[in-house]
Symmetry: C2
C-alpha cells in the first residue's frame, strides 16, 4: 500500500466481563467459577477511514481491571508512532515493550505485564493484516522467511535455536505452500472440542454433548479431571462409551496435581485410553512434566497455555518434557513470541495443538496454527486446535467450524474485534448487563432485608 | 496476648517513587536507569492504639501504578477479617490469596499479581510481629516447627520436599538456637556490598568505594557486568586491585547473556577470581543455569531474585543448577513462600544469600536470613546478605550495618514501615517532590520554548 504519515492517536482500553460462572461453562478442577473476561484494547489512528487494531488479554474475572491497567501503562510507547512503521515491522514495537527496563521488572516476561504486551502487540498485527487486506494467517504465510526471522527475539534462545536455524526451517517450510493453502481453504484445520467435558456438567449432559460432538465430525474431545478420582473414572467411562474407541479422548487436570499424584491418577484412568494428559502439574515445572511423561507413557503429556514465555517453552522441549505444545494467543507477548515457540517446536519435532476457548482465543489462535501448517511444519497430522462453543457471537468475525474443522478466515485482520453492542453490554462495571445485574442484586437484598 | 475482636478496616495503598535514576544508583546491564519504587500497603485495624501492618512490592519505576492496582484488587480478601486470626495463622490468608481462582489466572503465581500477594502477606507478618512485640526474625525462630510447617504451601513441591521432611529439618534446626541468638545479637549477620559496583560509576568511584568497603569490614563486594567485555575486564582489574586477594568479588550480569555467551564471558573474567556469577541468563532458565554452572566452575552460579515462585526454586535445586540461592523478600508471595524456599535450600544443602537493595529489601530480608541461621541451617558459613547503602533513611527502623554485618533488629515487626514524611514527599505523582519536579520541568519547557 502507498506510504502514509498516519500516527497512532489513541489506545482505548475496556474491561469486558461475561457472566459465564452462572452456567458453569469453563469450570475445571482449578477454576470452579470463571467469569470469562478480556482486557480489550483498540488502537486508533488519524488515517482517514483507516482500520483500527484490536487486541486483548484473556482473564477469568476478578483482576481484569489490573490487566487493563497494565495495557494502559503501555500507551506512551504507542501514541504518536507511525502506523506504516508499526505495521511494516511489529517486531520493533515488541522489542521496545519487552525491553522497557522499568516495566520489565514487573515480570520479567511473565504475568500481567507480559500479557498486556501481548494484547498490544496482537492489536498491531490485527491492524497490519487489515491494512494489508489479508487474514493474519495469510499475511504470515506470504511473508519472506528473512522478515519472519526478524520478528523473533532470540535472546535467551540461542542455546536451542539460532536465527540461522530458524531461517532454514522457514525456507524449507514454504515448499508446497500453495497446494496446502488450497487444501486449507477447502477443508479447514482439524479441531477438537472441550465443550462436553466441563467439570460442572453432570453425566447426562456430558454424554449428550459427547455424542453430539462425534456426530458433528470431531475426532477428539476433552474432559476436565482432577477433582475426585472416582468421579473421573465414572466420567471417563461415560465419555468413552459415548464416543466409541476410534475417537481420541484427551484429559485436562488444570495443574491440580503434584508430580507423584499426577502419575498415579493418570495411570488410574489408563483403561479409558486417554490420548493426552494436559497440565498435570504446575505450568512452571519443566522437570516435573518430564517425570510425569516418563511415568504415564504411552499417554502423552501436553502443556503450554500457562507457560509464561518462550524460555519456558524452550526448556519443555530441551528436557523432552512434553509430547504436545499448547500455545495460547494471549498468554505470551503476542504473535512475535508465538512465532518463536512455533519455530522451537518445529526444530524439536513436537506438534503444536493450540489452547483455545475463553474469550476469543479460538478466533486468534487459528491464524497461528494455519500459518504453522502452510509455511512451517507443512502438516496437520496429530495436530488439532481446541474449540469451545461459547462467546463467539460477540466477535465481528467469529470462527466457523465445519465437520470438526476450523474454516480458514477470509476477512482481513486477526479476527480480534468485538461487536460494539457486546462492548456496550458487558463493559464492567458500567455496561448495561452489569448495571442491571447490580440493580437486581440491590433489589434482592432489600427484599431479603425486609424478610429478615 | 489476650483475644480481641479487632478487624481489618482499611487496606491503604501508596505509589511511592524515588528519583534514583538521576544518580545512576542501581544501574546495571539490564536496568540502566531505575527509579526505585514501592507499591506500599498499610493494613489498618479497629483495635485501639493497635499497630498497623506494613508491606510493599519493590519495582523500579514505570508500572508501579499497575503494581498498586494489583494490591488494591486484594482488598476484599482482607476487609473485615479478624486480626487475631490473621496474626495467629498468616498461612490461611496466603492460601486464600494464592488460591483465588480468578486472580490466579493472572499468574499463575508469578509477576504483578504474585508480588501483590507478597506485599499483603508481608504486611500481615509485620502486624503479627508488632502485636507479638518481637522483631520478625525472633517470632519465626521462636515458633514451633509444626506451626512453621503449616505456614508452607507444599502444592507442587512434594516431589522434592514433603511436610514430614520439612518438620524434621526444623526440629533439627532448633538445636543450639539460644547460643546462636547470643552470637547474632553480639556480632550480627555477614553482609556484602554492591554499592561500589554499579555499572554507571566510573573507575575512580568504583575504586574509592571498593577500598572503603574493605575498610568498613566487608569481606565481599559485587560488581555489575555484562554490557561490554573490555569494560568489565578493566573494572574487575580495578576492583580486585582495590580489595586485594582475600576479599570475595562477586559478579552480576542481570540476565544479559544467552547460555553460550554467559560461559564465554564469565571465563574471560576468571583471572580476577570471581566468587560467583549472578543471573548469568534468563531467571526462568533452569536448564540454562545448569549448563552455565558446568561451563564456569569453579566460579559459582547464583540466582533467585527474579525466580517467580517456589516451583522455580525447586527446579534450580533439583537440577543442580545453582550454588547459591538468592531469595528476595518481595518477588514471591511473602514470608510463607520464602519459608518454603529456605526449607528447599536446606534440604538440598545449598546456601541462601539473599538479594537486597532496592527500596527496603535489606530491611525485610535480614529477618529471613537470621531465622535461617537461628532455627534452620544453623550456620552463616558462605552466607551473606546483600547490602546497598541507599534509601534506608526513609524507613522507621532502618538496617544497621556494623563491621560488615547486619545488626539484628530489636524493634517489633518486619522493619517495613516507611516514614510519614517520606510518603508525603515521594508519593507519585501527588507528593511534594514530584509536584515540584513537574513544575520545574514545565518551567524549563517554557524557557526552552521561548529560546526556540
Amino acid at each position: 500500500m502507498p506510504a502514509t504519515d498516519a500516527r497512532v492517536i489513541a489506545v482505548d482500553t475496556y474491561d469486558i466481563r461475561f457472566p459465564t460462572s452462572r452456567e458453569l461453562d469453563g469450570s475445571d478442577a482449578m477454576n470452579p467459577d470463571p467469569d470469562y473476561s478480556a482486557a480489550y484494547v483498540v488502537l486508533r489512528t488519524d488515517a482517514e477511514q483507516a482500520p483500527r487494531g484490536h487486541g486483548f488479554a484473556f482473564t477469568i474475572g476478578r483482576g481484569n481491571e489490573v490487566q487493563v491497567a497494565a495495557v494502559h501503562a503501555l500507551r506512551p510507547h504507542l501514541l504518536g508512532r507511525s502506523v506504516d512503521a508499526l505495521c511494516a515491522d511489529p517486531g520493533t514495537l515488541y522489542r521496545d515493550l519487552v525491553g522497557d527496563s522499568q516495566l520489565r521488572w514487573l515480570g520479567p516476561e511473565k504475568g500481567v505485564m507480559h500479557m498486556a504486551i501481548g494484547a498490544v502487540v496482537n492489536a498491531v498485527w490485527d491492524l497490519a493484516a487489515r491494512r494489508a487486506g489479508k487474514p493474519l494467517w495469510r499475511l504470515l504465510a506470504d511473508a519472506e522467511p528473512e522478515w519472519l526471522v526478524g520478528q523473533v527475539d532470540f535472546r535467551h534462545l540461542t542455546d536451542a535455536l539460532t536465527p540461522d536455524e530458524a531461517l532454514e526451517l522457514l525456507r524449507r517450510g514454504r515448499a508446497g505452500a500453495a497446494a496446502r493453502t488450497d487444501r486449507l481453504l477447502a477443508t479447514g484445520y482439524p479441531a477438537y472440542t472441550t465443550s462436553p467435558g466441563w467439570l460442572g456438567y453432570d453425566d447426562d449432559k456430558l454424554t449428550r454433548l459427547a455424542v453430539r460432538a462425534v456426530a458433528d465430525g470431531f475426532r477428539q474431545i476433552k474432559l476436565k479431571v482432577g477433582a475426585d478420582l472416582d468421579d473421573d473414572i465414572r466420567r471417563c467411562r461415560a465419555a468413552r462409551a459415548a464416543i466409541g474407541p476410534g475417537v481420541r479422548l484427551a484429559l485436562d487436570a488444570n495443574q491440580r496435581w503434584d508430580v507423584p499424584e499426577a502419575i498415579r491418577w493418570t495411570n488410574a484412568l489408563a483403561e479409558f485410553d486417554p490420548y493426552w494428559i494436559e497440565e498435570p502439574t504446575s505450568p512452571d515445572d519443566v522437570l516435573g512434566h518430564a517425570a510425569v511423561r516418563c511415568g504415564v507413557a504411552p499417554v502423552k503429556v501436553a502443556t503450554g497455555e500457562h507457560a509464561a514465555n518462550r524460555i519456558v517453552f524452550k526448556q519443555f522441549l530441551q528436557a523432552g518434557a512434553v509430547d504436545i505444545v499448547q500455545i495460547d494467543a494471549t498468554r505470551v507477548a503476542g504473535v512475535n513470541e508465538n512465532l518463536a515457540v512455533l519455530l522451537l517446536a518445529a526444530k524439536y519435532g513436537v506438534p503444536v495443538c493450540p489452547h483455545a476457548g475463553g474469550v476469543g482465543l479460538c478466533e486468534l489462535v487459528q491464524h497461528l496454527a494455519m500459518f504453522d501448517y502452510l509455511a512451517l511444519t507443512g502438516t496437520t497430522e496429530d495436530r488439532v486446535i481446541e474449540y469451545v462453543d461459547h462467546l463467539h457471537d460477540h466477535f465481528l468475525d467469529p470462527v466457523v467450524i465445519r465437520a470438526g474443522h476450523y474454516t480458514a478466515p477470509t476477512a482481513p485482520g486477526f479476527s480480534a474485534a468485538l461487536r460494539p453492542e457486546s462492548i456496550a453490554r458487558y463493559t464492567y462495571p458500567g455496561g448495561t448487563f452489569w448495571t442491571a445485574d447490580a440493580a437486581a442484586k440491590a433489589a434482592a437484598e432489600r427484599v431479603g432485608g425486609r424478610a429478615a
